[in-house]
Symmetry: C2
């Protein structure tokens, strides 16, 4: 891959640190709370439907997720869920926000390597700004990044706006992330470069068919392999 | 005031468009829902306390506000609130997000005037990115702004990060907003310029003692007065 990028954008959740696993843990605890009303699969299906329905209104992040859990509880209980369960669900949401920050293997090593190059590193994420700032602050890797870009979505238009806001041409930009749909495909579409580093769990709503053939694209098994290509 | 600013930042809520009045309306509807458990003043006091307690965790915006309303309902009802009321509170939050966008008087005229100058205009807000993008998209004034900067807080450090992310020196930056505490004082502190245009309602948590004396500061009665000073 060419290596005269001016800016490299890193996705945050499941690229730099653990995230999706925490959502899965929270969901399992939530399904257990709902077991008085329905089985796990029903709860899971209703929750996913509710989340996707709310996405336009709430966007991404733990607060919208918590509100979707609450609506799911109202639905599957047919409006019979008790106040104490509502309180427990709100607490599940708060615990999710407060989960410890665990960096993925090789992240520090890779960032340390990139620091030696004349490339500005940014975090480009569609999570919640406050959550992501908190995580970055707890991560010990804040010093490697120039700033955080929060995106309401990661579609072509959003990447175009991002590049315009930092006065960058697409061919000067590389995006690295665990989601083909959000981190790679839209960036390739607008003329930028993309590296996909998969995480073992992907939210259903983010799954796309595999895709491999593009001159400005690379798929790596581990983030440390970036050191071999840039 | 000097007029060779490179960037002018506009606060969004209650500077460009109506916001706080919508929160007040939502609160009144919420207090009515809780009247089965407590009087209006009690509900209001518990809600404010809950919001401030949650600020570190949830940040600003309608979703955190909705979650704080829910916790308030649990508290004042002593865990007796019914599922249908929970559903109504969630809907109040959704309605708040969907309130119509109403620009404040003189905003378009003022932006039109500034467009003629060689100054980049940005929106700098601590609201939720998705909410603010939606509002800006519905406002008809999107074309005047280069991009939206979302800030998790509006303290000195956050403004320093903002300026660093757009490679700007403080003396090249003017911030315009309705909150002395958030839009003016921290910008003055780091060496920038501030214009205060008060809105008739201010959230209690944003109120500071009046302040008038600073060489890089102006207080205006209406946003249109900007045309007389820049």
């Amino acid at each position: 891959m060419k290596n005269n990028f001016k800016v490299i954008g890193f996705d945050a959740d499941d690229t730099l640190w653990i995230n999706e696993s925490y959502y899965r843990e929270t969901e399992e605890a939530f399904f257990k709370l709902l077991s008085q009303f329905c089985d796990r699969d029903t709860a899971s299906a209703v929750l996913l439907k509710q989340e996707v329905m709310n996405l336009n209104l709430y966007g991404y992040g733990a607060k919208g997720f918590c509100l979707s859990m609450l609506e799911t509880a109202l639905t599957v209980s047919e409006q019979r869920v008790q106040a104490d369960t509502i309180g427990e669900i709100i607490n599940l949401g708060k615990e999710l926000i407060n989960k410890p920050l665990v960096l993925l293997d090789g992240v520090v090593e890779t960032l340390d390597y990139l620091k030696g190059k004349n490339i500005r590193l940014i975090v480009a994420t569609k999570g919640d700004l406050l959550d992501q700032e908190r995580k970055l602050g707890n991560s010990g890797i804040e010093k490697y990044f120039h700033h955080i870009e929060i995106m309401s979505e990661k579609k072509e238009e959003n990447y175009r706006n991002l590049l315009s806001s930092i006065d960058l041409r697409p061919e000067e930009f590389l995006m690295i992330g665990n989601s083909l749909k959000s981190d790679v495909l839209p960036v390739l579409e607008i003329g930028g470069y993309g590296i996909h580093v998969p995480y073992h769990t992907t939210w259903q709503h983010e799954v796309v068919d595999d895709f491999t053939d593009h001159s400005r694209y690379l798929e790596l098994k581990k983030i440390t392999e970036i050191m071999g290509v840039i």
